[in-house]
């Protein structure tokens, strides 16, 4: 799983029917210290994350294990809103 920050939203009218009603967000991966990293990813939101919030994103077929994503064409899902990251 990666740490990422919500940087935008995606609106799509025509889409797979199994994706209807799901919120799509644009994520920017961040380091544990909070610095932006390269690239971006579009993810399905399962927790109600908001703009600029730091979240936990799961990718690959494990994303379909998230509640609300069973049997949907999803490869990245937001599964948590990060409160804190502690580096030991």
């Amino acid at each position: 799983m990666i740490l990422a920050r919500v940087v935008g939203t995606v609106v799509a009218t025509r889409k797979d029917p199994r994706l209807e009603g799901k919120k799509l967000l644009v994520l920017k991966p961040v380091s544990p210290e909070g610095k932006d990293e390269a690239g971006y990813v579009v993810a399905v939101d399962t927790v109600g994350a908001g703009f600029r919030e730091r979240v936990l994103a799961v990718s690959g077929s494990s994303a379909r294990m998230a509640e609300g994503c069973k049997d949907t064409p999803v490869d990245t899902a937001i599964v948590g809103i990060v409160d804190d990251v502690r580096l030991d």
């Binding site: 544990p32 927790v47 990718s59 690959g60 294990m65 998230a66 599964v79 948590g80 502690r86």
Partner: protein, 103 residues
């Protein structure tokens, strides 16, 4: 599976219900010579590993299989704590075996 070192932990109060109750640890992947390599990532923890411990972790769909019959939405899971690693010395440019001297 790959080797890694636990370097921190992640708190998330709001999370997908299927992820409730799982520990989330920050892992630094290690190369075969046990040096840090690649980006740190968040893993669910099956073992109860602690800070600074060397572990091995599995990625992909198999990461959630470690918790069967539960199947959390996880793509990386710590599945073992490493006691020790033995590996052959790194190859050098010198030939491994010197030709025998003739008398």
């Amino acid at each position: 599976m790959q080797l890694g070192r636990v370097v921190g932990c992640v708190w998330a109060t709001v999370k997908n219900p299927s992820l409730e109750g799982y520990r989330l640890l920050l892992v630094q992947p290690l190369a075969s010579d046990l040096r840090d390599t690649g980006k740190r990532l968040v893993c669910t923890d099956w073992t109860g590993a602690g800070a600074g411990e060397m572990v091995y972790w599995v990625r992909g769909r198999e990461a959630s299989i470690a918790f069967l019959p539960g199947q959390p939405p996880s793509d990386a899971t710590i599945v073992g704590i490493v006691d020790s690693v033995h590996r052959a010395a790194a190859k050098t440019s010198k030939p491994a075996r010197q030709p025998a001297e003739r008398h």
